[in-house]
């Protein structure tokens, strides 16, 4: 600790620290970003005052209106229920109408909002017969058509009245295709595609009781030979167009179909209609190189009249990687002179929206892929002065003392150099004093790069200070499922760049791939195919001589090391490497030991097992390998010490099963991952998910929903060795024979739906832990650990018997408003929280993600190593200066007086 003390350059000021924020502190330490998600459909809508809005529905069950001039969100509605699916959106001059389908309860909801105020004008529910499935629904005139696409290839259309939700008629259309169809609607035609037989079926709208499909073979309408149809898409804003996306020679192209008066009129060669006119905009994308590997397409936009007459032409080159063009929306106007006025909103496969003017200028962009973050890590920049890590015991053999010393000196020289150059480059000296410090200098390690991998195949590096996108990498082939993100090398090692690796399955080739990149700059270091399909991947604790923490990639019976150069260090520690795997068939958990077989290959040998008869593992949470536990025990009221049972190999498992009555129950286990010893097992009956677990130090906390009492509950477990400690210096799971005391207590939570749970992390674990809890309503609570302490005494315990700092037990957790760290900045649909320690022991960085993003810092034990925010430097400095001057003057005066006295 002594070495760290030097880092705390500012003195503690504990006395006056406000728990809540002042109004001027909003966005001083935090930022938030509101998103809508990747759009599925959109429409332009002009306000009576002539402003243009862009109303859209998105993958994240959001209905929103954007200002089409600036791209700002004007209003946004998020469907509450996860099972609610937004199927159609229509704007009329006075209303925004939407149809949503509730998957579980089988009913359609028709809602209408005012387009500018977003006030709900109508809400009608139309229950359908139980067991019905609705795949597609759309509004046509005053009717809602709900389509069920059967496996046999037939389509059942239930037509309902928009106003009352009452059924009008049911029509079944048969196609004779043995496979389910893919259907869309254009304004007056329902078009279906059979992918396997390459046939197109259509029928005019409204669907009459005697309606039938008209069938057309795709090659008859001019689709190129050898093309494999993929999907059918609408052409937004057009009056009668649909397009077929097809694959030909590993490239996706699309073909346009034109319908007129309910009849197919032929095909053309991404096109969008121009709202308000009958013109269309043809977009042709071209890549900078033939393989399209840069994902920076250039777009040529041609405005066509009557499909042939070229009215306007412009081209636009994307300045960054965006993937390929997926969808476009256009709004046109004609001025007196007949020149083209239009606005174009482009959706690219990375989930970003770009708005263009007819001259090819970019009006605004939105990064909507950030609404669906899949994996996220906070990476330290390593720019703070004390960030060089000790090389640790693993390095002693590899590098000698002199080399290490030289390296340290070089590191400090580099820091001095960067500080000097930082001062030389400063144009405005006032910045230094006003706190607008340059990004490069971050003395306390608070600055992090948020490395976010999104479902859309885009990887972002965000600045945690203001949410600015530092870099992005487009990866359209990433699949969210079964991907792993690891930080293999941090920025703490001077002379080497940090390294993050992403293991994912390629969407097209189904092969597993490994992508390594520098999380600070976004530079791709390597991109390679993995030899075997990945069952599990795990980051090891120790690092090799290049400071890379190896990743073990486990396929069925094969263990590979990534990078392969780190194999030697894995073999060295194989004796002490234990891995728990889950059998996908039997649901058993097996403890495995890493072995090197005589051929030099790494293999796993099962050593223990945990059966889960009739249940399925839902959560499997170990402790963070980077965590420090500061204190070994707790002082009790009678001054004795209760020692913590700090087993770093402990994991908490929640497995879910169904009992005889068909109700869900969970089994909770605390298992030692080396020996498979069960430390604790408990069972909760009649509970359901979502389950969230925080496991740290000697305690664990988990939440679940109690179906019987209809409330969310939280159970807190804490493990103690007892009043004596068996071994204070090292812990060995193998020779561990302690049966720890398991303290437990359950609490009632106020909010009924918890969407994320996380503990705060600080560098040395001295600061008390807080639990961060995000609720579905978008609030993030910061709950002190003491509140969740299972040792909270009974209310009747006299005060002198109570342990200091632990409040008496009250079954319901009181969560006052001051505990909400995001004050009025509601985070839309939070899905996860991630925390990271900073160089300041008191402070922890928090990043909440979901539909919206929110990043802040928290100080669980208040800012004991920080000066107050409004600390008056000038007064202190001037008082100090005045005192020094006064002491000099009085010294001179007294000298003169002494001299005079001596002469007397």
């Amino acid at each position: 600790m002594a070495s760290k003390a030097g880092r705390f350059r500012v003195m503690a000021s504990l006395t006056t620290c406000a728990g809540a924020l002042f109004e001027d502190q909003v966005f001083k330490f935090d930022w938030s970003r509101s998103l809508v998600g990747v759009p599925l459909a959109g429409q332009f809508w002009d306000t009576p005052r002539g402003q243009s809005n862009f109303i859209l529905r998105t993958k994240n069950r959001v209905l929103a209106s954007l200002d089409s001039d600036s791209g700002k969100i004007l209003w946004r509605h998020v469907l509450d229920d996860d099972a609610d699916e937004l199927l159609d959106l229509r704007t009329t001059p006075k209303l925004v109408q939407a149809v949503s389908w509730h998957r579980e309860s089988a009913f359609l909801t028709f809602r209408a909002w005012h387009p500018t105020t977003a006030a709900l004008k109508q809400e009608t529910t139309a229950p359908l017969p139980p067991g019905t499935r609705v795949d597609l629904a759309f509004i046509h005139e005053d009717e809602v058509n709900a389509l069920t696409l059967a496996d046999s290839g037939s389509v059942t259309v239930q037509v309902l009245n928009w106003r009352h939700g009452s059924p009008v008629r049911t029509v079944t259309l048969t196609s004779g295709s043995g496979q389910p169809l893919r259907c869309i609607r254009t304004p007056d035609v329902l078009v279906c595609l059979s992918v396997s037989s390459a046939m197109l079926y259509y029928t005019p709208l409204p669907i009459s009781p005697k309606a039938a499909f008209t069938a057309v073979a795709l090659d008859k309408i001019g689709l190129p030979v050898g093309a494999r149809p993929l999907a059918l898409q609408t052409v937004p804003g057009s009056s009668g167009l649909a397009q077929i996306a097809y694959q030909r020679q590993d490239r996706e192209e699309s073909w346009l179909l034109k319908f007129d008066q309910g009849k197919l009129k032929g095909g053309l060669s991404l096109i969008t209609g121009c709202e308000h006119t009958s013109d269309i905009l043809r977009l042709e994308q071209a890549c900078a190189n033939a393989e399209c590997s840069t994902f920076k397409p250039s777009v040529k936009v041609t405005k066509l009249r009557d499909f042939t007459q070229n009215v306007h032409e412009m081209s636009f080159q994307f300045s960054q990687d965006v993937g390929r063009l997926v969808q476009a929306w256009g709004a046109c106007e004609e001025d007196e002179r007949g020149s083209a006025i239009f606005q174009l909103v482009l959706l690219t496969s990375d989930g970003s929206l770009t708005s263009l003017t007819p001259l090819g200028n970019q009006m605004w962009t939105r990064e909507e892929a950030l609404a669906s973050i899949d994996k996220v890590e906070l990476v330290a920049t390593g720019l703070d002065s004390g960030s060089m890590e000790d090389e640790g015991p693993f390095q002693n053999e590899a590098t000698d003392l002199v080399q290490q010393f030289a390296k340290r000196i070089r590191h400090h020289l580099a820091l001095i150099q960067s500080t000097i150059s930082h001062f030389l480059e400063l144009n405005d000296w006032r910045n230094v004093f006003s706190g607008n410090q340059d990004k490069q200098l971050d003395d306390f390690g608070i600055r992090k790069v948020i490395l976010a991998v999104c479902d859309e195949g885009k990887i972002f590096g965000l600045d945690n200070k203001n949410g600015e996108v530092l870099w992005n990498v487009v990866y359209p082939n990433v699949v969210g499922e079964k991907s792993y993100l690891f930080i293999q090398r941090t920025a703490m090692h001077f002379g080497t760049e940090p390294m993050a690796s992403l293991i994912f399955r390629n969407r097209y080739s189904q092969k597993f791939q490994l992508l390594t990149l520098d999380p600070l700059s976004g530079a791709i270091l390597s991109w390679e195919d993995l030899k075997h399909p990945v069952d599990q991947a795990v980051l090891l604790h120790q690092h090799d001589d290049k400071f890379i923490r190896p990743v073990l990639v486990i396929s069925k019976n094969q263990v590979d090391v990534v990078p392969s150069s780190a194999k030697a260090s894995v073999i060295k520690y194989a004796e002490k490497t234990f891995i728990a795997t889950k059998d996908p068939q039997t649901n058993d958990i097996q403890g495995q030991k890493l072995l090197v077989n005589p051929n030099g290959f790494l293999v796993l040998r099962p050593i223990w097992s945990l059966a889960n008869p009739g249940t399925e593992v839902r959560k499997f949470v170990g402790k963070s390998t980077e965590e420090d536990v500061h204190s070994q025990g707790r002082v009790m009221a009678d001054r004795s010490v209760l020692f913590k049972y700090v087993n770093p190999n402990l994991a908490l498992i929640i497995s879910e099963g169904t009992d005889a009555a068909g109700k869900l129950f969970i089994n909770v286990y605390l298992v030692d991952m080396v020996t498979g010893r069960l430390i604790f097992s408990a069972n909760h009956k009649r509970v359901t998910g979502p389950y969230h677990v925080v496991h740290s130090e000697n305690w664990a906390v988990y939440t679940y929903y109690n179906e019987k009492s209809r409330r969310a509950e939280l159970t807190s477990l804490e493990l103690f060795e007892g009043n004596e400690q068996t071994n204070a210096t090292v812990f060995s799971s193998v020779s561990d024979v302690i049966s720890p005391l398991v303290e437990r207590q359950a609490f009632i939570l106020g909010p009924s739906h918890i969407s994320a749970l996380r503990d705060t992390r600080t560098e040395k674990g001295i600061t008390t832990k807080h639990i961060l809890m995000a609720t579905k309503t978008g609030l993030v609570y910061d709950i002190p650990r003491q509140f969740l302490d299972p040792r909270r005494p009974n209310m009747n315990t006299p005060p002198e018997m109570r342990e200091p700092g632990i409040p008496p037990y009250i079954p319901e957790l009181q969560l006052p408003q001051e505990m909400i760290i995001n004050y009025n900045q509601t985070v839309g649909v939070p899905r996860g929280i991630i925390t990271a320690p900073t160089g300041l022991e008191s402070t922890s960085v928090v990043f909440v993600y979901g539909l919206d993003l929110y990043c802040t810092r928290v100080a669980p034990s208040k800012g004991f190593d920080l000066l107050k925010d409004d600390f008056d430097y000038y007064v202190i400095a001037s008082v100090l200066l005045a005192l020094i001057m006064a002491s000099f003057i009085t010294k001179r005066l007294s000298q003169r007086k002494a001299l005079k006295q001596a002469w007397k």
Binding site: Q542, E575, P613, R618, N649, S735
Partner: protein, 227 residues
Amino acid sequence: MLLIMWPVFLFLSILTPPIWADFEDTPSTDGQFNLEVEHSLDAGQSFQDRGLLTVHSIRSKSFSSDPTDLTSEQKAQLKTLCDQGDLYLLRIKATNPATSQSSLHRSVADPCLMIANAFQDTFTLHLDWKSQLVSLSVMPTPTPGQASLGSLRDHFQTKVAVQLMEAGPQPDTSAFIQKVEQEKLAQQRGETKDNRSFLAKYWMYIVPVVLMLAMSSANPEGQGGGR
């Protein structure tokens, strides 16, 4: 989603005298298990028969054991395992005679602790709330005195313990409601007793009096000093 695994590092430390607490809960359901025990003396390359354990009843904790004798060679192998820092692995086939369902379980123990405790060990059966076998853990039974390899008995002396799954904690609302109601009743009766100390109760009267006294005694002195 939950294919999580866990790298674990163990640090072999100095052996400490083991503490073993016997099981606390009495089983609510009866059950029978036949355990065919096999052990490996070469760190998992091969398994050898170690004997049979029969748990007649979980409720009455009755069990019988039929261990296979160890050869001196096997004892020496166990000693080698301990010296090399390897693990003593066990493979147990558990059969429930009532349902004739069997399951294979694996467990691990420290060979050094086995030797130190003269081949006396305890098998703990962890059952879930439906009395299904979840896992088996093998721990040495603590014995006083250090055993040497020569004085070891010829077979394992095994005890069986059963650990049942506990019911998870529930929020304790009844005590809280009771307490609140009691307070309400007491308030209605006006029985709220003030048990604060004398000073705590009347400090607002005492402080001004003390202050007045202090001021009146200090003032004349100051005036006197002035003259």
